[in-house]
């Protein structure tokens, strides 16, 4: 195998842009693994682990771009890397336009600035967030790997100033109809959403849009906000704000179960709320505890309940999916030895929710991100029995793009699962919206066709998106159906269908 590396000194690019560059290079013929990263110490270690032993990498730093390519023939790789400027060109030409170099310069340029969107590498994010708070800006922190103590300090500092910190590890938010981070294009409407989970917010907001309703605001809190360590400051501030917001008639809260003390605080706040609240706590039963809220366990149930609240009890999330033929006859499970479900998820919360649904059906699942009571998969790269993989977990995304951007890892895994004679169902989530791959359904189509042909197995998918998303909901659903997948109306519905198909097998 041939390996080639190129270094561009003092050329800094952000991680999402580099993921896209790596994805595009990886689509060229004869190319194996691709790395497009900045030369930080951590990235250099990952490059070495991945077999990029290039001498030119050793002296690089965090401001130097490193591109590594593996492939069949040296000459091919060389020709490919000679075209590197073409891939970097859009970014470089845009960079030539004058942009402020600091937050202060940016604030001076933008009258009425009220928010900083921060997505720099984790170790720098708290510093930038603190600067923004000092300038009187609210902050949305997409970055993960921000130390817990920094999150606690930032949220305390913000609260003292009447400001809010969405994040860290905040995948999405929608403020007054404007999506931040990885957001979908949803209609404005009467329902306010508060979420510690990015894909959870995406699923609830898109289901509400598809049911004809809409979102007043969706406020991301960051995944750790409801823990007792952080104490739910952003969740509580968002409850206050949406309870008072004129455009909001009902509230939905989406998160994993909060810490005990934080849950008590949330309950107290809900008890005083003027508006009805639906809470979806993924993965565990949470007692209503006397608060006047509706508590559910799946994202589609949360959307349905919210819809009922704003439509006088008549609403329901439209089940615009289809049922697999086998599901009509759940008493006849697939013949042994095809009896296992392999869930390959891009959304961490959707992987979590699917485990919960299987647990509810009495089916044990192994996962690299196991829900309480489920089994930890020994090797994330090798499935055993019923296995649900969160392909966005660190072990899969270190040094390579997230599956919401780059389909390669999931395509390879679909083919690997299809080659396993014990697999009856492959379960997938396909996430649309700003920032996601331009054709995520189409990217998986070939692998689905191959999997369906290779044996008697079914592929069940859900699409998280709306007709107005850049990728187009209908186009994505069609691509998946044409490839032979069954497309369910929600991610929970897809998991329930898969569970029904293997129950008793």
């Amino acid at each position: 195998m041939a390996v080639r590396c190129v270094v561009r000194e003092r050329q800094y690019f952000d991680s999402v842009f580099l993921m896209r560059v790596a994805d595009r290079i990886g689509r060229e013929p004869g190319v194996g693994q691709v790395a497009a990263v900045m030369g930080t110490a951590a990235n250099k270690e990952l490059l070495a682990e991945a077999g990029f032993h290039c001498p030119e990498i050793s002296g690089t730093g965090p401001n130097d771009l490193v591109i590594g390519v593996q492939g069949e023939r040296d000459a091919e790789l060389e020709a490919l890397l000679a075209r590197l400027d073409d891939w970097l060109a859009p970014e470089r030409s845009a960079a030539e336009a004058s942009r402020p170099r600091t937050l202060d310069q940016a604030v001076a340029q933008l009258a009425g600035a009220n928010l900083a969107v921060i997505s720099v590498p984790g170790q720098h994010a708290a510093r930038e967030a603190r600067r923004a708070l000092d300038r009187g800006l609210h902050v949305f922190v997409f970055s993960d790997n921000v130390p817990l103590e920094a999150e606690i300090a930032l949220k305390r500092y913000a609260a003292e100033r009447g400001l809010v910190v969405m994040g860290p590890d905040c995948g999405t938010a929608i403020i007054a109809g404007k999506g931040l981070g990885f957001a979908n294009v949803v209609r404005r409407g009467p329902i306010g959403v508060i979420g510690a989970s990015g894909t959870g917010i995406q699923e609830v907001t898109t289901l509400l849009d598809r049911a004809g309703s809409g979102i007043s605001h969706a406020i991301g809190t960051g995944s750790r906000d409801p823990s007792d360590d952080v104490g739910g400051g952003t969740t509580l501030a968002a409850l206050d704000a949406l309870d008072r917001d004129e455009g909001t008639q009902a509230l939905v809260v989406v998160s994993k179960p909060p810490g005990r003390r934080t849950l008590a605080l949330i309950r107290d706040r809900v008890a005083r709320a003027a508006k009805p609240v639906v809470a979806c706590f993924l993965g565990a039963d949470v007692e209503r505890g006397g608060a006047p809220w509706t508590v559910v366990r799946t994202l589609d149930a949360a959307a349905t309940e919210a819809l009922r609240l704003v439509s006088g009890g008549r609403g329901e999330v439209r089940k615009d999916g289809e049922r697999a033929p086998q599901a009509e006859d759940a008493t006849a499970p697939p013949a042994a030895p095809r009896r296992y479900v392999r869930g390959l998820f891009a959304g961490g919360s959707l992987c979590y929710q699917a485990q919960d649904i299987f647990g509810g059906a009495g089916i044990k699942v192994r996962s690299n991100a196991p829900l309480e009571g489920m089994l930890r998969l020994e090797d994330p790269r090798r499935s055993e029995g019923h296995t649900f993989i969160d392909l966005g977990a660190d072990e899969f995304t270190r040094g390579r793009p997230h599956p919401m951007i780059d389909p390669r890892l999931r395509r390879e895994r679909i083919l690997a699962e299809a080659a396993d004679p014990e697999v009856a169902v492959i379960l997938l989530d396909v996430i649309l919206g700003f920032g996601c791959a331009p054709d995520p359904g189409g990217d998986l189509a070939d692998a689905i066709v191959h999997a369906r042909r290779s044996g008697r197995l079914d592929v069940i998918a859900s699409v998280i998106g709306t007709p107005a998303d850049p990728q187009g909901l209908d186009r994505q659903v069609r691509a998946l159906r044409d490839a032979g997948a069954t497309v369910s109306g929600s991610s929970a519905e897809a998991a329930r269908l898969a569970a029904a198909m293997v129950a008793g097998a």
């Binding site: 940016a106 969107v117 999506g179």
Partner: protein, 57 residues
């Protein structure tokens, strides 16, 4: 209840973007006001220098 949070919701984001440039573009195509900072790791990413800078700031 924070008045400033209520103002953010009422007015919508007028944003400074620091990091992933796509996020500025996302806001722009939705008709949002945004200025994108040309961010690079400070002080060549040297942790000791960063600590000194933090104390000065």
């Amino acid at each position: 209840m924070s008045e400033r949070f209520a103002e953010l919701l009422a007015r919508g984001p007028v944003a400074v973007n620091v990091g992933i440039r796509d996020f500025a573009e996302t806001l722009r195509v939705q008709g949002g006001e945004v200025v994108d900072v040309e961010w690079t790791p400070p002080a060549e990413g040297d942790p000791e220098l960063l600590e000194i800078l933090d104390r000065l700031l």
